[in-house]
């Protein structure tokens, strides 16, 4: 039994190591993907292409423009008379229109209406742009009020009183609200998912395609031993990959490791049970490697979309949330974020860990059963 298992593991490892492409896909690709995705999937809005339409053309409006240029949120490309064209051509995502008599109204203490145009074709970006613009304008109007008040105080010769309520917001766990810190655990989960599911699905389909399964069947090798021998090496490689991904996340993207690493380890083992189990299940349905890949993506896409990796599950309709509740990726992402960023331990993460265990054991059991039936 041990000899047989060892023989299968050795064979799988040899095949993987001899296949350069496979090795790259398993070890290098996840790290590269994480780095790329980590940099590319950035929800922070910085250097937003912006345009200003100045209908006032006074020292005050020009000072407004100066402030906008100085603010890192905006990349003021142009000043124009026409507010629509820059948005249509994509030169600007935000256009701020300063009305006529902007300065005059300010000076006399009357309120001004500043028009803001935002490109809504990308809602996530539009929302961020809108928030950034609102923040900028609020700051700007507070400053205006302050300087106006100061001027008035100076004229009247009385001392100036500061506003009494001051709001100070402190963001916990990710104080700079860096999206990389938030994204990396999600990306890590997705990358591990893709690699292990597709590889295990293809591994068994390949035996069928090559006809080697026929030769396996005439050996006294039991299906359980065969399956175990096929999965253990990939579980091991998956763990190495996970370690590398975590290493890249903490060094390049400065993702903190606040919780105990044992939580991450246990969660990863349970997660790999799920992903490899799905792979085995797919391979019992697929006849060729191509079908295995297609089947893999049939599972991967919804699993990724419903993982809360990019958009929060809380915002999804009820029936989709039901689907998300049986999604192992979602629980793994949840555990990684809570543990790495917030320092949650086993006690706080019992629920998602348990969910992963149930899904993993279930799909692995189902996959093995089907595998045993298919093979004999």
């Amino acid at each position: 039994m041990r000899t047989e298992l060892l023989a299968v593991i050795t064979k799988e490892l040899r095949q993987t190591v001899r296949d350069r492409r496979m090795l790259v896909m398993l070890l290098l690709a996840p790290v590269l993907q994480l780095t790329l995705l980590g940099f590319a999937v950035n929800l922070e809005v910085d250097h937003l292409p912006a345009a200003l339409v100045d209908l006032d053309e006074t020292p005050t409006s020009r000072a407004f423009l100066q402030a906008m240029v100085a603010d890192p949120t905006f990349d003021v490309a142009i000043t124009t008379d026409d507010p629509d064209t820059p948005i249509l051509s994509g030169e600007a995502r935000v256009v701020i229109v300063l009305p006529r008599r902007f300065e005059a109204r300010l000076k006399t203490g009357r309120s001004n209406e500043v028009q803001v145009l935002v490109d809504g074709s990308n809602p996530i970006e539009a929302q961020a742009a809108l928030d950034a613009t609102r923040r900028f304008l609020e700051q700007r109007s507070v400053q205006q009020m302050a300087s106006l008040a100061q001027e008035m105080a100076f004229r009247s010769g009385r001392a100036l009183k500061r506003p009494s309520v001051e709001i100070k917001v402190r963001t916990l766990y990710n104080p700079s609200l860096k999206s990389a810190v938030y994204m990396v655990p999600g990306v890590a989960a997705v990358v591990l998912l893709i690699v292990t599911t597709v590889v295990s699905a293809m591994g068994i389909a390949r035996e069928r395609e090559l006809g080697t399964i026929e030769q396996l069947l005439v050996t006294p090798l039991r299906p359980t031993v065969l399956l175990l021998g096929k999965m253990l090496p990939f579980a091991g490689i998956g763990l190495i990959t996970a370690g590398m991904v975590l290493g890249v996340g903490t060094t390049i993207f400065r993702v903190p490791v606040r919780g105990p690493l044992s939580v991450v380890f246990v969660a990863t083992v349970l997660y790999l049970m799920s992903t490899l189990g799905v792979g085995v299940f797919i391979s019992t349905v697929a006849r060729t490697q191509q079908q295995a890949i297609l089947g893999g993506f049939f599972f991967l896409l919804p699993a990724i979309l419903l993982s809360g990796f990019m958009s929060p599950i809380e915002n999804m309709p009820d029936w989709i949330r039901v689907l998300a509740a049986i999604n192992p990726v979602r629980y793994y992402v949840e555990i990684l974020r809570s543990s790495l960023l917030k320092g949650a331990g086993f006690a706080e993460l019992l629920r998602p860990l348990f969910a992963l265990l149930i899904f993993g054991a279930g799909i692995l059991g189902l996959g093995s059963l089907r595998f045993q039936k298919r093979i004999s």
């Binding site: 023989a7 299968v8 095949q15 090559l210 026929e214 069947l217 006294p220």
Partner: protein, 314 residues
């Protein structure tokens, strides 16, 4: 295997395998003795592979009985698997692994390891003449060498019975001869060989032959006996430069002593009644008189003649 000398290695009785309405193997009965080379002949789809797959424990019979080394394959296919070697029709070793990697894996699958395994691998590589190729990936091996490697792999656990399913399909003639030399050696050493083929010349190497047609076993005997029973008459081979053999065929058929005429590629095989004293001479004269130029030669019947006869008689 602890079986008495009298027990046949393979006993098949009324073996039937149906896939839905299609009956692949239809009430087949035969026995194979220890150390025999048993040839299983037939066209593609005649039920040869299905029989082998049942005997190897890969398929369950629909009805009837199949015993290998006295074990009923339907009862304990796993025990059967340990006592047989199986070489499938399709090359089914790992193309991305080297020769020794493959052998180490399949040896391991049979529970072998360490020194005994590596010694066994050395012996087999020597036997099939692949020592020089031990580190070569099997995908880079030419067809004949792959075939020998597959044979070595089937022999790892020293099975007393070997199933070879079309072992030489797609291999060049000299490699086929080499392969058969190996098979005969094995048989001399006491291994029982059950081999399917559709090459009739290969069938001549077998000690006994079963002829399969549409799932039925239509004949079963030694090659010599098969020829005697199915083709008792002398055969004359007629070759001609003519593009259309049909007029010659008609002329020959018109002769009262001719039993039948069959086309064999570019030639005709003419079977003549036994009583005829000088058949070749007489036919030659007859064709000459009819104005045909042809070359005539008396020949021994081949197994192909037997096969065609057996199939048409059925």
């Amino acid at each position: 295997m602890n079986t008495g000398t009298k027990t046949p290695v393979i006993e098949v009785r009324d073996l039937t395998k149906a896939f839905g309405h299609f009956v692949a193997v239809d009430r087949v009965t035969f026995e194979v003795e220890r150390g025999e080379i048993f040839g299983y002949l037939g066209a593609n789809g005649a039920g040869k592979s299905t029989t082998i797959r049942i005997l190897s424990g890969l398929l369950m019979p629909t009805s009837g009985q199949a015993r290998v080394h006295g074990i009923d394959v339907a009862d304990d296919p796993e025990r059967v698997k340990r006592s047989i070697g199986y070489m499938s029709q399709r090359f089914s070793l790992y193309p991305d692994l080297s020769v020794t990697d493959n052998l180490e894996f399949f040896g391991g699958a049979f529970g072998m390891s360490g020194r005994p395994l590596s010694k066994r691998i050395d012996t087999l590589l020597e036997q099939v003449d692949l020592i020089h190729a031990r580190t070569t990936r099997t995908r880079d091996l030419p067809g004949g060498m792959r075939q020998r490697l597959a044979l070595a792999s089937a022999l790892l656990h020293s099975p007393p019975l070997l199933f070879l399913d079309e072992p030489t399909s797609g291999v060049d003639p000299s490699a086929r001869r080499n392969f058969w030399r190996l098979i005969r050696e094995l048989s001399h050493q006491g291994t029982t060989i059950f081999v399917t083929t559709h090459y009739m010349d290969e069938a001549e190497y077998c000690e006994r032959i079963g002829l399969m047609s549409d799932g039925r076993l239509v004949a079963l005997d030694t090659p010599a006996n098969l020829k005697r029973t199915f083709i008792p008459e002398p055969i004359v081979r007629v070759e001609s430069q003519a593009t259309d053999l049909d007029p010659i065929l008609q002329t020959l058929r018109a002769d009262p002593s001719v039993v039948n005429v069959q086309t064999f590629g570019p030639a005709l095989h003419v079977r003549i009644e036994k009583r005829e004293p000088e058949p070749t001479e007489r036919l030659r004269q007859r064709l000459k008189d009819a104005g045909f130029k042809a070359h005539l030669q008396p020949i021994e019947p081949t197994l192909e003649d037997v096969f065609l006869e057996a199939v048409t008689r059925k």
